[in-house]
């Protein structure tokens, strides 16, 4: 391959400056700031701060509520990731078989993708409205009084449901294009080799979708951890109370509601490390990933 060179070393640096500036201003600087604040205890009125070392971290570890929220976050992430992937895969497999009207069917599923998270949360609010929400009524038919924002489990259920609903279209698009990139003749060969449709799916289709699936797994975990903020905020109406919340939401609640910048910063540093670990894991797996040709 031909490599183009620059006459001076200043030009390339100059060309990189805008990009580096953006990264520095919007990523490294806040990150460094967060790390720094996590070692200080803020005066509740914001007048000053004192260095406390790792106190903010050890406080978190001892905090039962924090552990409870961490645990909820894990369960929430697993549920959202699993159901978003599973439902999207199911829909994609079905959509792949549709020949007539395939386009409108796909569009119907994909439009949800365009819905902003707070709007998705708002739709959730409407569906679960205490007095006239259709889902509240439906659940009421089964003898359960659904109370969003009051009952812990009910609220958690609504959070998972709306988050999954919001994420399914993204996964659907990827799974569908993954399915369509499997050569037709390979599927036909399987049709001759195996009479069971589910057998063919698990033996041939699913393994060939694995690279797509792995990529989506990481995307979905990240989504459930971080991008569900808007959904959660809308569903608990900014009134956390006893409601379930994820770690990211807790950062916001402690930092901006509780004015505990130090503790909140320590939490975000922990989350940063989590993302870092996830990214390293992803790249490791991608390197090892089997490339089919």
């Amino acid at each position: 391959m031909k490599r183009a060179g620059f006459a001076t070393k200043w030009l390339p640096i100059l060309l990189l400056v805008p990009q580096l500036t953006i990264i520095a201003v919007f990523f490294y600087w806040p990150a460094a700031h967060a790390v720094q604040s996590s070692f200080y205890l803020q005066d509740p009125f914001g007048f000053g701060s004192s260095f406390v070392g790792f106190d903010n971290y050890s406080d978190l570890m001892d905090n039962r509520e924090y552990r409870r929220i961490a645990w909820f976050t894990v369960i929430f992430t697993v549920l959202v990731t699993f159901f978003s992937l599973a439902i999207a895969l199911l829909l994609a497999v079905k959509a792949d078989k549709v020949i007539r009207g395939a386009k409108s069917y796909r569009t119907l599923i994909m439009w949800v993708y365009a819905v902003a998270p707070p709007v998705a949360g708002f739709i959730g609010l409407i569906l679960f409205n205490q007095s006239w929400g259709p889902l509240t009524r439906l659940i009421g038919q089964f003898g359960h009084q659904f109370t969003l924002g009051v009952n812990y489990t009910d609220t958690a259920f609504a959070m998972v449901l709306v988050s999954v609903w919001k994420q399914v279209p993204v996964n659907f698009i990827f799974f569908l294009s993954g399915l369509q990139s499997i050569p037709k003749s390979v599927r036909e060969a399987a049709l001759i080799d195996n009479r069971s449709a589910s057998g063919r799916f698990w033996d041939v289709t699913f393994p060939l979708l694995a690279p797509t699936g792995f990529f989506l797994l990481i995307i979905n975990i990240t989504y459930a951890l971080f991008d569900t903020f808007g959904v959660i905020d809308t569903l608990v109406k900014g009134e956390p109370g006893n409601n379930p919340m994820t770690l990211v939401y807790k950062v916001y609640v402690d930092g901006f509601r509780g004015n505990d910048l130090g503790g909140s910063s320590a939490q975000s540093v922990i989350l940063m490390i989590l993302v870092l670990a996830l990214t390293v894991f992803q790249f490791r797996m991608l390197e090892r990933r089997i490339h089919y040709t």
């Binding site: 003749s185 001759i192 057998g199 089997i290 089919y292």
Partner: protein, 347 residues
């Protein structure tokens, strides 16, 4: 082993395109039938209908006296070799070959034995633990063959299995496939658009054109007694010379030539003669104005005009040739006559 009956098999695709006009034929036990025809004539469509990969619009498909129109591909007891091999990319060669057997509840040691046997037969022994992406085209082709033969099917279906190989390998595999089929004695349908493959491999050839069967016959019949001008010009390289002649006084007349004994009604006619059935002859009534001499080593092709028509003739390497006029004659019994309107053979 099986017999295959097609009874007015008809295919119209959902978009309304009629890919196969109602067609009927019968394939004997152990026969090797080659479907040949130009691109888009419906060969793959027909084969895929036999495989069960394409729905049958009308007509009946029988394998061994059992109508299988609605039988699953997996239950038709067939094996298919695809043009692009269609190997499972995530499975090793061994798994690729074994997969069909595993789903048929064959015992493990039996599968292992059969896979080894097939690998032995196809010289795949050292590749069994590789993935298809680590094989050459020819090796992949063998794996696809292996996948077909371990199953001991009663019918082999091949859809242009050699068209992705280079000329030398294609020649070699052609012979191997034919030998393998002979040895196993499995009824086979083989699709190709290469008429050389058709001639060399087939017990019987089915020539197709535009969704229609033009002729069914042994390679000799198809070559020497083509059923239509289409078959005459499709089979053979170079193809048969087709020339406009005239019948008068029960003789065929063309550019000074007169062939007696063509007892037909007077009128225009198309007659065909193979390049090798035109012979240099000092007393010949015909004059070929040779324009190009094509040197092919073992023989030569002479291209020129005769009576205003383009004609190709074939001469052995011992015949001295040069461009310019050459006296020739045609072998009378090798002449085919065709109706000038329908293009059908008159005999």
């Amino acid at each position: 082993m099986a017999q295959v009956h097609l009874n007015d098999l008809h295919k119209v695709y959902p978009n309304g395109y009629e890919a196969l006009k109602p067609s009927s034929f019968h394939i004997e036990d152990g026969e090797f039938v080659v479907l040949v025809g130009p691109s888009g004539c419906g060969k793959s469509t027909l084969l895929r209908m036999v495989a069960g990969l394409e729905e049958i619009t009308a007509g009946a498909l029988k394998i061994d006296d059992k109508v299988v129109n609605h039988v699953d591909p997996a239950d038709r007891d067939i094996a298919m070799v695809f043009q692009n091999y269609a190997l499972y990319p995530h499975m090793t060669v061994r798994k690729n070959i074994a997969y069909g057997l595993q789903n048929r509840k064959v015992a493990k040691d039996e599968i292992a034995r059969k896979v080894d046997e097939a690998a032995e037969m196809l010289n795949l022994g050292e590749y069994l633990d590789r993935k298809p992406s680590q094989l050459s085209g020819g090796q992949r082709q063998r794996v696809a063959m292996g996948r077909a033969i371990v199953r001991d099917p009663s019918l082999f279906l091949f859809d242009e299995p050699l068209s992705n190989l280079d000329a030398k390998l294609r020649h070699q595999m052609r012979i191997e496939i034919k030998a393998l089929q002979r040895r196993l004695g499995v009824t086979s349908i083989y699709v190709t658009h290469d008429q050389v493959e058709a001639m060399t491999m087939a017990d019987r050839i089915i020539v197709m054109n535009a969704g229609r069967i033009e002729q069914i016959g042994t390679p000799e019949e198809v070559y020497h007694r083509p059923a239509s001008t289409f078959v005459a010009s499709f089979m053979g390289a170079p193809p048969m010379n087709l020339l406009p002649g005239e019948i008068a006084d029960s003789a065929l007349r063309f550019a000074g030539m007169e062939l007696e004994g063509c007892g037909r009604e007077a009128g225009p006619i198309v007659f065909g003669v193979r390049p090798e059935d035109i012979l240099p002859d000092e007393d010949g009534a015909l004059m070929l104005d040779v324009e190009i001499v094509e040197e092919l080593g073992a023989h030569r092709l002479l291209h020129g005009t005769m009576g205003g028509e383009q004609v190709t003739m074939h001469v052995g390497k011992e015949t001295a040739v040069s461009t310019g006029p050459l006296s020739v004659s045609v072998v009378p019994e090798a002449v085919s006559l065709f109706d000038p309107d329908s293009g059908l053979r008159l005999s």
